[in-house]
C-alpha cells in the first residue's frame, strides 16, 4: 500500500483513535507503577503527583510481608510443570492425529477441540469434588493436573494444525528406513515442530501464570498459594497499605509481560493460528 502523508480528516481521526486507546490500555499501568513508588499519604493527598522520594522500600516491604518470593516460586514451579506436561501430552496426541490414519481420529479431534468452547468456570463444583476425591486438594500436583488438562484442547488444536503443515516426505523416508513410531515422534517431528511447540507453550504458560479461580478453589495453605491468588489477599491483609498492594501487583505482572515481549511474535501467530485463548 502506498503511504498517504496528506493531513486529511481520516488520518487525524485515525491517530486520535489509536492514541486514545493506547492511553486507555497503558496509562493505568503507568499510574500503577508511579503509585507503587509513593507513600500512602502522598497517594491519598494527590494520586497523580510525582513522589518526593521514590519509595523503593514499598517493594521490599511487599516482598517480605506478603512472602512474594514464595508465591512467585510456587507459580513458577506450577506453571512450568503444567506447561511441560501439557505440551508433551498435547504434542503426542497431535502427532497421532495429524500423521496417522485411523477411523476414529476425526471424532477424537472434534471432541477435544470442542472442549475449547466449554465455559469451564461452570465446572468449579465438580473440579472441587474430583480433586478432593483424588486426594489432591491443597497440593501442587492437583493444580498442575488441572492447569495441564484445562489447556489441552487449545494446545492439541494448535499443535495438530502445525503438524499438518510440516511436509510428510522426511517422515515417510524415515518410516521406510525402519524408524519406529516413538523415534519418528522424538527424532523427526519434535525438532521440526519447535516453533509450534514454542507457540503453544507460551500460550499455556501465560494461561497458567495468570490463572486465578482454580488456584483459589483448590489450595488453602500459604506454602502452595500462587501469586495471582496471593495478591488478592492484599485487599484484606494490608487494607490500608495501598502502595504495598500496588507494588505487589507490579511484581505479579512483570513475568507475564516479560514472556510476552520475548515471545510476542509467537503469541500473535498462535493467536491467529488457533484464534483462541484458554
Amino acid at each position: 500500500m502506498t503511504k498517504d502523508n496528506s493531513l486529511n480528516f481520516y488520518s487525524i481521526f485515525k491517530w486520535v483513535i489509536i492514541i486514545s486507546f493506547v492511553v486507555y490500555a497503558v496509562f493505568p499501568f503507568l499510574w500503577l507503577v508511579l503509585a507503587s513508588l509513593k507513600t500512602n499519604a502522598e497517594l491519598l493527598d494527590n494520586p497523580f503527583k510525582l513522589p518526593k522520594v521514590f519509595q523503593f522500600q514499598n517493594y521490599s516491604n511487599a516482598i517480605q510481608e506478603a512472602g512474594l518470593i514464595q508465591l512467585i516460586i510456587n507459580s513458577l514451579v506450577i506453571s512450568t510443570c503444567a506447561t511441560f506436561l501439557n505440551i508433551l501430552f498435547a504434542s503426542m496426541c497431535a502427532f497421532a492425529i495429524a500423521r496417522h490414519i485411523f477411523w476414529w481420529k476425526n471424532v477424537l479431534f472434534l471432541m477435544i477441540t470442542a472442549g475449547i468452547l466449554v465455559p469451564l468456570n461452570a465446572l468449579i463444583i465438580p473440579y472441587y469434588a474430583i480433586i478432593n476425591f483424588l486426594n489432591l486438594y491443597d497440593t501442587r500436583l492437583g493444580l498442575i493436573l488441572v492447569y495441564c488438562a484445562v489447556g489441552l484442547p487449545v494446545s492439541t488444536f494448535i499443535l495438530t494444525e502445525f503438524f499438518k503443515g510440516i511436509p510428510k516426505e522426511i517422515e515417510e523416508a524415515s518410516y521406510l528406513d525402519g524408524c519406529n513410531f516413538v523415534a519418528r515422534y522424538f527424532r523427526i517431528m519434535l525438532p521440526l515442530a519447535l516453533p509450534g511447540l514454542a507457540t503453544a507453550g507460551t500460550f499455556q504458560f501465560i494461561l497458567c501464570w495468570n490463572e486465578f479461580i482454580y488456584a483459589m478453589l483448590l489450595t488453602s495453605s500459604t506454602e502452595i498459594r500462587t501469586i495471582q491468588f496471593g495478591i488478592s489477599y492484599f485487599t484484606n491483609e494490608f487494607f490500608s497499605d495501598y502502595v504495598g498492594m500496588f507494588a505487589a501487583v507490579v511484581v505479579s505482572i512483570l513475568p507475564s509481560i516479560t514472556v510476552f515481549i520475548l515471545f510476542q511474535e509467537r503469541v500473535i501467530t498462535g493467536l491467529t493460528a488457533g484464534s483462541v485463548k484458554g
Partner: protein, 290 residues
C-alpha cells in the same frame, strides 16, 4: 500414514494421556454436574430432589440478575468491544510507521492476569485515591470528588463495562492478522479507481475479514459468559447483587456448601453457552452467505 499392526499400541499410548485427562476434567465433570444438579448435595449427603434446584434458582432475583448481567456483558462485548477492535484493526492495517508498537502495546492487557487487571482498575475507580475521580475533579466535574464508582448501584455496572474496553486489543490483533492475507491487487485496483483510504478500509478490507470478525464475536461471548475475576475482585457481585454474574453466583453457592444448587446454576450456564453459540452460528452463517 497408515498404521502398522505392531504400532497400534504406541498410537493408543500416545493418545492416552490427553484422552484420560480430557475424560477426567471435561467429560466426567459435565456428567457429574448434571447428576448433582438434581440433588440437594451439601458435600456430605445427597438426596434426589428432581427439578427443585432449578425452580428455586429461577425464582431467585439475584440469579436472574446474574443471567441478565452475563448477557449484558456478552452483548456489550459483541456490539462495542469487537467493533471497536475492528476499527482499530482497519486503521493499523495501513501499516503506517510504528504499527507494530501500537499492536504490542494494545495487546498488553490481554497477557496480564485478570486478577491484576481487576485490582488495578479497582484502584482507578477508588473513591479516596482513585485516578478517575482525580481526573474528573481536575477537569471541573467536582461532583464526582468522592464518588464510589464500584460501590454505587447506579454506576457499578457501567464502570465494569467501561474498564472492559481495555481488552479491545485482543480482538484487534486477531483481525489485524487476517488483513495480512488480503491480496495487494485489490488495493491497487481501488487506487486506479481513485478510492480514498476510508473507502479502501470499509469497502475492501472490512468485508474481506468478515469471517474473522464473526469469530471474534463468538470468542467475546464465550469469554464474557465465563468471566469471574473482575466481578469477584472488584465488586464481589455487589452492591445489592447489582453486578452479580453466573460464576460468582456458583462460587457463592459453593462456599455455603449448597453444591446441588450450585451445580444446577452450572448446568444452566453451560446450556446458556450452547444456546448462544448455536444462535450466533445461525445469525452469522446467514450473514456470510448473503
Amino acid at each position: 500414514m497408515k498404521i502398522k499392526k505392531d504400532e497400534v499400541g504406541w498410537l493408543l499410548l500416545f493418545i492416552a494421556p490427553t484422552l484420560i485427562l480430557f475424560t477426567l476434567f471435561f467429560i466426567l465433570p459435565i456428567l457429574f454436574l448434571l447428576a448433582s444438579s438434581f440433588t440437594n448435595w451439601d458435600g456430605i449427603d445427597a438426596e434426589f430432589v428432581g427439578f427443585e434446584n432449578y425452580i428455586k434458582l429461577f425464582n431467585k432475583k439475584s440469579f436472574v440478575r446474574a443471567i441478565t448481567n452475563n448477557l449484558y456483558w456478552c452483548i456489550t462485548a459483541a456490539l462495542i468491544t469487537v467493533p471497536l477492535g475492528l476499527i482499530i484493526a482497519l486503521l493499523l492495517s495501513h501499516r503506517s510507521r510504528g504499527w507494530k508498537v501500537f499492536r504490542t502495546v494494545l495487546f498488553v492487557p490481554q497477557v496480564v492476569s485478570s486478577a491484576a487487571i481487576a485490582m488495578l482498575w479497582a484502584a482507578v475507580f477508588n473513591a479516596e485515591y482513585g485516578l478517575l475521580n482525580y481526573i474528573l475533579d481536575n477537569i471541573g466535574l467536582s461532583d464526582y470528588k468522592n464518588h464510589n464508582w464500584l460501590g454505587n448501584v447506579r454506576t457499578a455496572n457501567a464502570a465494569l463495562i467501561g474498564f472492559s474496553l481495555c481488552y479491545v486489543g485482543y480482538f484487534m490483533v486477531i483481525m489485524l492478522a487476517k488483513t495480512a492475507s488480503i491480496s495487494e491487487d485489490y488495493y491497487d485496483a481501488a487506487k486506479i479507481d481513485g478510492a480514498s483510504q476510508i473507502q479502501k478500509d470499509f469497502y475492501i478490507t472490512a468485508p474481506l475479514i468478515k469471517s474473522t470478525f464473526f469469530l471474534c464475536i463468538i470468542l467475546a461471548v464465550i469469554f464474557n459468559l465465563r468471566q469471574f475475576e473482575y466481578v469477584y475482585l472488584m465488586t464481589a457481585g455487589g452492591p445489592a447483587n447489582k453486578t452479580q454474574v453466573l460464576v460468582v453466583y456458583i462460587w457463592n453457592e459453593l462456599t455455603v456448601q449448597r453444591l446441588g444448587r450450585g451445580s444446577a446454576a452450572g448446568v444452566i450456564m453451560i446450556a446458556l453457552g450452547a444456546m448462544l453459540l448455536l444462535l450466533l452460528r445461525r445469525i452469522l452463517k446467514s450473514e456470510t452467505y448473503n
